[in-house]
Amino acid sequence: MTAALAVLYGVLAFMVIGAIIAVETRDLLSSVLCLGAVGFGLAMADLLLGAPDLALTQVVVEIFAVVLLIRTILIREDTTKEFIRDTPHVAFMGAVLMAILLGTYFCFQQMTAFGDPPMIMGLGYIREAASAGAMNLVTAVLLDFRAYDTLGEATVIFAAVLGCYALLRTSGRKQEQQ
């Protein structure tokens, strides 16, 4: 195991622990902050895995999401007494999730080994990158080869923002007598 790989496993373990704390802690604010830590861990993992674009975007998006959540929590009172549903429900869901996890573990044994991807499509992009002209291949993939996906993605944000506007209207229906 090389040093870089050891660091990567460290970051992944950090993320898993952070996720557990974020889910389990009772205080909503600490929960959201732990989530931010997981996000920053992800950004670090991205850097280690050779994805600086992602690290940049992940950091900013994480900041945005965490501020959004904190802003939502801070000015509102929460009256939740019991965080978890009743025990049979929890036991059932836990069993189902463990079963899925075991199945996933079993099936992942035949997954492509880590560090050895087929890259049939990716190498094609790299080979043709010179014609696209972009030096950053991720941008080239995003905005040239797979620009159609990006159009869809821009549309998703557009839809979400319109949805926010629509859901934040004070009243949905026109008042009749006013």
Binding site: F64, A134, A154, I157, F158, Y165, S171
Partner: protein, 152 residues
């Protein structure tokens, strides 16, 4: 919300220019270095978010208003769609309609910088607008906040 203290406001107004500069750098060199329309747009929205938090949502809403956000967002979206459609007219959907020239220059990537710019505009304005609406939204206040801009 009235906003935060004077120190924070001053620092924010100083910082905001730097953030915008960084946004332009990230968006315009997106095809050369890490970054691009999305990162730049979200950074831009995060900068705006700083302003909203420092000055208070109502003050920002008075100055800017979410009509501007909608305007820039739709313009960005239409801009990106028109990059696609110009390519469509030139040959194929999303085809490069500009010939890439010198490597490592701003003009190196044909239509990609334009797409980046449009997406940055769209993402920045969109997220800013959404956060502004959310921050200005207050509970228990049923009064006519929305008067004057709806088609009521």
């Amino acid at each position: 919300m009235k906003g935060m203290t004077l120190i924070v406001k001053t620092m924010t107004s100083l910082l905001f220019g730097c953030v915008l500069l960084f946004v332009f750098y990230v968006i315009l060199t997106g095809h050369l270095t890490p970054g691009g329309g999305f990162s730049g747009g979200v950074i831009c929205a995060a900068g705006m978010l700083l302003v909203i938090l420092a000055f208070g949502a109502d003050a920002v809403k008075e100055r800017v208003g979410h009509r501007w956000a909608i305007l820039w967002e739709t313009l960005g979206a239409i801009g990106f769609l028109s990059v696609a459609v110009i390519g469509f007219i030139a040959g194929a959907f999303f085809a490069q309609f500009l010939t890439p020239s010198l490597q490592f220059k701003l003009s190196a990537a044909g239509s990609i910088p334009f797409s980046n710019l449009a997406i940055g505009l769209k993402v920045g304005a969109g997220l800013f607008g959404a956060f502004l609406m959310l921050a200005a939204f207050r509970e228990g206040e049923k009064a006519d906040r929305d008067s004057g801009e709806g088609d009521q």
